[in-house]
Symmetry: C2
Subunit: 142 residues, 2 copies
């Protein structure tokens, strides 16, 4: 049965589900940062998913990318699948700005974590759930 890696549970806020992926918001108010985790067991690489799931993840990633850049008025999107520490496959989508605290470096291992306040968390999760429900087919909020 699919379950999230404890580190992902610890670091993120669950936003909802796309047809394949759980949508997680990194609990870091420094930058808009979503993670897609396909709800499949024992997968560490994108290409190790079944072909139909590889394709669906691509579709979901494109949808999330466009939505984030529009919603957060981003300058550049950074995407990546690393998994050197957390082996459960997860795909990062991070909105970057020329004025962000670690620009132009990658965020991983560089950026400080500034947790969202309860009010900020409610606001951004609501915004994301609304945008996802309007723009990406099959999204179901938590």
């Amino acid at each position: 049965m699919f379950s999230l890696h404890p580190q992902l549970i610890n670091d993120t806020i669950q936003v909802g589900d796309l047809p394949l992926s759980r949508v997680l918001l990194m609990n870091n108010a420094e930058l808009p940062w979503l993670i897609l985790v396909p709800r499949r067991e024992n997968v560490s690489e994108w290409y190790a998913l079944e072909a139909i799931d590889q394709q669906q993840l691509h579709t979901e990633s494109m949808g999330i990318s466009r939505l984030m850049m529009s919603l957060f008025n981003g300058y550049k999107l950074n995407t990546g699948a690393l998994g050197n520490i957390v082996p459960q496959f997860h795909l990062h989508h991070i909105v970057r700005y020329q004025h962000d605290s670690v620009w132009p470096h990658p965020v991983w291992g560089k950026i400080e974590t500034l947790a969202y306040s309860e009010a900020e968390k409610y606001k951004i999760v609501s915004e994301l759930q609304l945008a996802l429900a309007q723009e990406i087919e099959g999204f179901t909020p938590y």
Copy 2:
């Protein structure tokens, strides 16, 4: 007309072309590191490609991923599209090992550059061209 960003020309060795993407080998003997650059003009984001090209890049990325992990007996693949410094869209594929010099950190901005010798360069480019020609449809070597 498509042309490579000077920084990509400077940092890489051209391996060949897939139907959409130029295949570049990062000139760093520390790790097997390939970059796909769609041969399209003025594209900075994956989702900004035309739909058919978005899909083709996904297909090429899956093929390159599987091939690299097999050819180089990798422990983990790291993929990413950053583009904070080089705006021309390019997609990294990096084979990682638990014994590599920056494990488990991301390589960007961390790993030292150790250029291939002429002999190493000839060997790895030949291996890659052979594997790509055998396993990925539409590959044409330089």
